[in-house]
Symmetry: C2
Subunit: 333 residues, 2 copies
């Protein structure tokens, strides 16, 4: 900036004013300064700006995603960016890859960069270590997964109720032997889904036909479902607790002796659409939008006590839960 100033024969302060569109600058000076800015390729150093300005926000929010490769978070992220862009805020993203240690490190660098606010999809089971940041005034909103013992805003989907919707739907189709295929319930969302699954069955006076929580990926889900379907009293319906399992479970069903076994999956995916799999859908964009708006409410000065927003899920019937089997087997459609 000093270079621009001397090249345009003005003070650095005047250059600063031109950069920030301060109105009372003579056209002559403004023109000279802008010309030099372009000629020299000057870019204000946001480190310096952020250092000097402590009062007003610097215009950047951080998003810590647990897994960027997951289309669910990609959609959430895109909605967040949209809200932020509308406010002229930059969105910076980092991914913890479901690693709590990495998550802590990244949150640290976000805090060090003095971003105006953070949206966190946490892979961690403890959040006590964030209390100091909170006390210092860092604004955060947790999304998709709730904070543990940390008084902070969060936006979640109704996982338990969603799993209940799936069960209710299958019960309505006449199924009584319903099995669960899913994640080990270490993550909050998986725990909630399992809880909702069991609760809905209990309410109908039933027990789960089986609960498999060893389906860490599509291949494991394929194995688990195949084993369930190979037993003499196989379940007539399966509930898969996350969209990464669709392919594996659908294939197991198609390959089994009971290709009409019903299937409902938590969360939508392109694969579920193509295969005609009935799903309980969350709206990742809405999740992101609400989280971002909550964050900006805080940045605008809202100091009320932490809020917890719970978004409803939608059951989308596509055939696999209504007696038509998955499209992998039943051609045409």
């Amino acid at each position: 900036m000093r270079d621009v100033a001397s090249a345009a024969s003005v003070s650095v302060k005047t250059v600063s004013r031109v950069v920030h569109n301060y109105p009372f600058i003579s056209d002559d000076v403004r023109g000279r300064v802008q010309a030099e800015i372009r000629r020299l390729g000057f870019r204000p150093n946001s480190n310096a700006v952020g250092l000097r300005r402590t009062d007003r926000p610097a215009g950047g929010i951080g998003v810590l995603a647990a897994d960027l490769a997951d289309p669910f978070y990609a959609g959430m992220l895109s909605a967040i960016e949209q809200v932020a862009t509308a406010r002229s805020f930059t969105t910076l993203v980092a991914s913890s890859d479901e690693d709590p240690a990495r998550e802590r490190g990244l949150l640290g660098t976000f805090v060090e960069r003095r971003l105006d606010g953070l949206i966190v999809v946490s892979a961690d089971r403890r959040h006590d270590h964030l209390r100091p940041e909170l006390d210092v005034g860092t604004r955060m909103v947790f999304a998709d997964r709730p904070p543990q013992r940390l008084p902070v805003d969060c936006v979640l989907a109704a996982h338990a109720e969603g799993a209940g919707q799936a069960v209710t739907h299958l019960l309505g189709q006449g199924h009584r032997a319903i099995a669960y295929v899913g994640h080990s319930p270490v993550i909050h969302t998986a725990r909630e889904r399992l809880r909702g699954f069991q609760a809905a069955l209990a309410e109908a006076g039933l027990e789960p036909h089986a609960v498999r929580t060893d389906a860490v990926d599509a291949a494991a889900a394929h194995r688990a479902a195949a084993e369930l379907l190979a037993t003499p009293d196989a379940p007539t319906a399966l509930f898969a607790d996350n969209p990464r399992l669709v392919g594996g479970v659908a294939r197991a069903i198609a390959e089994s002796a009971a290709p009409r076994t019903a299937l409902v999956v938590f969360d939508d995916s392109e694969l579920a659409q193509v295969l005609g799999v009935t799903v309980v859908a969350q709206d990742p964009r809405e999740l992101g939008r609400r989280a971002a708006e909550l964050l900006f409410t805080r940045l605008d000065g809202d100091r009320s006590r932490p809020r917890r927003v719970v978004l409803p899920t939608t059951l989308v019937p596509r055939g696999s839960g209504e007696g038509f089997g998955v499209a992998l087997r039943s051609a045409g459609r």
Copy 2:
């Protein structure tokens, strides 16, 4: 930092030394300072650090992705993060959503934040405006899409050759009437794929049976493929130029009068795996890894002239290009 210093009765400089593990600090002082740091939740302000230190890198690289929702870039990104993490660099990501104006804005904020280097998947057709940044010493590597008239490193896949592989494969299966379904060739990758497609056919003395470049998404691809297959002299094989079209084209084939029409798609996807679609696969992780390593080579001081790394593609036969049709129709597999 000042608070920590006075609380521990030392100078700020000493606190700075403790933070940076300067070796010659008495255990007593180090202990007191660390205790106060924890008690007060102190975090160094990276704005100030970045401002003061101009010589050595600050430890952050930026990635500008064209579309984070695309699993291809998600994989690339993950590989970049892995390389950066191994070097103790933080990776910050932003998405242009294929909007050149947005891309320019985001590149601007990256430059303003004085990150040590950038990896760019550009949605822009012009890059002249980046020349000043380059002159100022900003390190950049273009990935997946080449820079236009900008002397800068880039890492690309062999798009034209890959499309050629697909054509050669289909020719080997006896197909002579091969149609192209794809993107409008405004993006470099689409242009290259179309070029490679045409070149490989020309080499065999053939013409494309048809070229549809209006398939902007799966639905449009479905329409385009359905129209091609409904004509009296329908093609016997289709080449789809990107993975977003798989579902649409596969469905069009399954619904058509010629469900055995061959299909090869550029880029792998989960859907292609499940449907048994033959693909020409790039390795997104390798792309990201190479780009990141190239960038770090530059950060380590390499000043040689810009390099252009081209990565080969692999043809993965899964049935749809070998006369078995897509699994959507042919059950079991």
